[in-house]
């Protein structure tokens, strides 16, 4: 019996069930207290550097995956706290701080083998790097906090690790910096200072650094951003930092829940009803009750 089948059997066909990954963001969107806990298979099954794809159990830690990919100079656009798993990062669906270069997390997921609420295994998406075959169920799963189906095994898009990178900061608006920097990976703005991360060939980065230093920026260490974040609503409180490309504010802020239009909420409820009418998958969790 393969591990995906074992996972399906562990999920079963009735009763409340939730998946435990690294549990690094366990309370996000609510706690599925009392639900039967299962674990997704772990381990890198197949890494094809020449295809720039990797097949991996959803229970694999990001650290393990990063190590395997790094040996061939590749990476995936998934970030998470230490101990986080691939499945957990996808279920949370928060894009990398480097999204200016690596893209959104949803674009990283090519195929997902999942167990649905009815206990059946199904596959969403396909194994190739380009695919518009049928409805894009993969995208729905990213950020769904496991409320539509439970991820067992996924195929992710990999990409080359940048040759070099550097961080610069200074008192300039993000717009002014963007006029000079080419496709920055990260742009942070605290209302006064802009901090950017640039990635690319070392001598190109030297040239870009010179241009930005001439405008008053200086090289800095990678900034420490607190774990607390909230959706940006148009202002930046003192001490907070806006991830411009991600639309998320970091800092010690009161958590404000997003305001969801009734029509969108109704559509989302219909989606959950279709995939899990009995609300057995991650009960108590609601992806709309997440501050960011």
């Amino acid at each position: 019996m393969n591990r995906l089948t074992e996972f399906r059997e562990a999920v079963g066909t009735d009763g409340a069930v939730c998946v435990r990954g690294g549990a690094t963001r366990w309370d996000l969107g609510g706690d599925p207290a009392g639900a039967h806990e299962v674990r997704a298979p772990s381990g890198v099954e197949e890494f094809l550097p020449a295809e720039m794809t990797v097949t991996v159990g959803a229970g694999t830690t990001l650290a393990e995956l990063t190590e395997v990919l790094g040996a061939s100079g590749q990476e995936v656009a998934l970030d998470g706290p230490p101990g986080a798993t691939v499945g957990g990062a996808l279920a949370v669906g928060r894009s990398s701080l480097r999204r200016g270069r690596v893209g959104s997390i949803a674009d990283a997921l090519l195929q997902a083998d999942c167990v649905g609420a009815d206990g059946a295994l199904f596959t969403a998406g396909g194994p190739t790097v380009k695919n518009v075959t049928g409805y894009d169920v993969c995208r729905l799963l990213v950020g769904s906090l496991g409320t539509l189906a439970l991820l067992g095994r996924v195929i992710l898009r990999t990409r080359p690790v940048p040759e070099s990178s550097l961080w610069l900061a200074g008192e300039l608006t993000p717009g002014r910096v963007a006029d000079v920097a080419y496709r920055p990976a990260t742009v942070l703005w605290d209302g006064q200072r802009t901090t950017v991360r640039l990635e690319g060939h070392p001598s190109d980065l030297n040239d870009e650094r010179e241009r930005l230093v001439a405008l008053g920026l200086g090289e800095v260490d990678e900034p420490e951003l607190g774990p607390c974040m909230s959706r940006w609503v148009g202002q930046i409180a003192a001490g907070a930092v806006l991830d411009v490309l991600g639309g998320v504010v970091y800092g010690d802020l009161p958590k404000t829940l997003p305001v969801i239009e009734p029509g969108v909420h109704a559509l989302a409820s219909r989606m959950r009803d279709e995939f899990d009418p009995g609300r057995r998958l991650n009960p108590g969790r609601d992806p709309y009750r997440v501050a960011a």
Partner: protein
């Protein structure tokens, strides 16, 4: 059902079961361009290329560049999740749409997505894109704009066998190089386009590769050098870097005029859009050639090699019913070859009517049921663009007119 410019190649915009057709081409206003935030709100009828023309001088452009970009609308690009040559590096339409205002089949108007970053909750925006008009009608679209690259290098590589060209593609990706575009044209296509593109394509080459790299100079030079070495070690005769913008334009002109040129050979063509693992290009191309030879047909290859997105093009005469039947037969064989190689049914054209009947080759009944759930959440009564994408007992099965593409479009 919605209908834009009607350039889609899979029949997604062909009315089935007598629906009311809502044509969006007159909703063609560019509503707002925010240069600082790099977004623009457009109506669905804005022609793809018109947006990038409108942005000239801002240093920004709309990255998806489907074959049909002179005619196809952004609403249509959203419906099919369109691709294009430069999607190799920049991603397909979904990666460039922040938000969509949608009229759902029950009349409710919803805004899916966010102007900046990812929306809260389910990615309903991502689920809607590529829905081929079966999930509702987009009425306003917030697109993300891409910085123009400071520098572009266009390479032309030529090979005496198509295998060597295909192996070079695999070797480039395997070396961890992700070009902006990586296109293959075979000898038949080169012969057809050179007379009016004057790109200086080698007429005796079995295949040429067009490789485009963009960004900053040192990174580009490094990649040009590495690609040159890889190509030569895989048998390339010549690695030519376009000296200036004029030469770049001529190299691309040949690629872009492939379909107009084919009209000189046969009046009709059938274009098949599938994706295969890019390490298996040489093997699958040989399999396709064998199937085509067996059916005594003429095939031309001009496609997005870098992401394994095949576009075998079978030229024929639709007035010949017997030949048309052979074209459809070989089309099915090509789809099966792609699936057997671990590929998928469509890379950028969608399923529409054309490939509904093949969905079962790629997906199990459980997989298709998950897709049906997504569809039902948007459209419980199946009112929007009926009989598309999912295989069903619905009517409208008679699709043998394989369509012609307007002159000047490219695939």
């Amino acid at each position: 059902m919605p209908r834009g410019a009607g350039t889609g190649l899979a029949g997604g915009a062909v009315p089935c079961d007598d629906p009311v057709v809502i044509v969006t081409t007159r909703m063609d206003r560019i509503l707002d361009v925010d240069v600082e935030r790099r977004t623009a709100w457009v109506e669905p009828g804005v022609v793809n290329l018109d947006l990038s023309r409108h942005l000239a001088g801002t240093g920004l452009h709309f990255a998806p560049d489907p074959s049909s970009q002179q005619a196809s609308t952004i609403g249509g690009n959203v419906a099919t999740n369109s691709g294009g040559p430069h999607c190799l590096l920049y991603g397909v339409t979904s990666a460039h749409v922040q938000a969509v205002e949608v009229v759902l089949p029950d009349g409710e108007v919803v805004l899916l997505g966010e102007e900046q970053g990812d929306a809260a909750g389910y990615d309903l925006r991502g689920a809607f894109i590529g829905g081929e008009g079966t999930l509702g009608i987009a009425t306003r679209i917030c697109v993300r704009l891409t910085q123009d690259p400071p520098l572009v290098a266009t390479l032309l590589l030529d090979f005496l066998t198509i295998d060597e060209a295909a192996e070079t593609v695999s070797a480039i990706i395997a070396a961890g190089i992700l070009p902006a575009a990586l296109e293959l044209m075979d000898q038949q296509v080169v012969a057809a386009v050179e007379p009016f593109a004057h790109a200086g394509y080698p007429m005796d080459a079995a295949a040429v590769l067009i490789v485009e790299l963009d960004g900053l100079p040192a990174g580009i030079d490094d990649q040009v050098r590495r690609i040159g070495e890889l190509a030569r070690s895989h048998g390339a005769r010549e690695v030519r870097r376009a000296a200036d913008a004029d030469e770049q334009e001529r190299i691309w002109k040949g690629r872009k005029s492939a379909f107009g040129a084919i009209a000189n050979l046969k009046p009709d063509y059938y274009l098949n859009d599938t994706v295969i693992p890019r390490s298996r290009l040489a093997e699958v191309l040989a399999g396709i050639q064998e199937a085509v030879d067996r059916h005594d047909l003429l095939i031309m290859n001009v496609f997005h090699a870098g992401d394994g997105n095949l576009h075998p093009l079978i030229v024929y005469d639709a007035r010949d019913a017997e030949e048309t039947a052979r074209v459809l037969e070989v089309g099915e064989e090509i789809v099966r070859l792609a699936i057997d190689a671990g590929g998928v049914l469509s890379g950028e054209h969608g399923i529409g009517l054309e490939k509904r009947r093949f969905m079962g080759l790629q997906f199990s009944p459980e997989d298709l049921e998950a897709q049906a759930r997504l569809r039902r959440a948007f459209d419980p009564d199946g009112m929007a663009n009926p009989a598309k994408i999912l295989p069903s007992g619905a009517s409208c099965g008679h699709v043998t007119s394989l369509g012609r593409i307007p002159e000047g479009t490219w695939v």
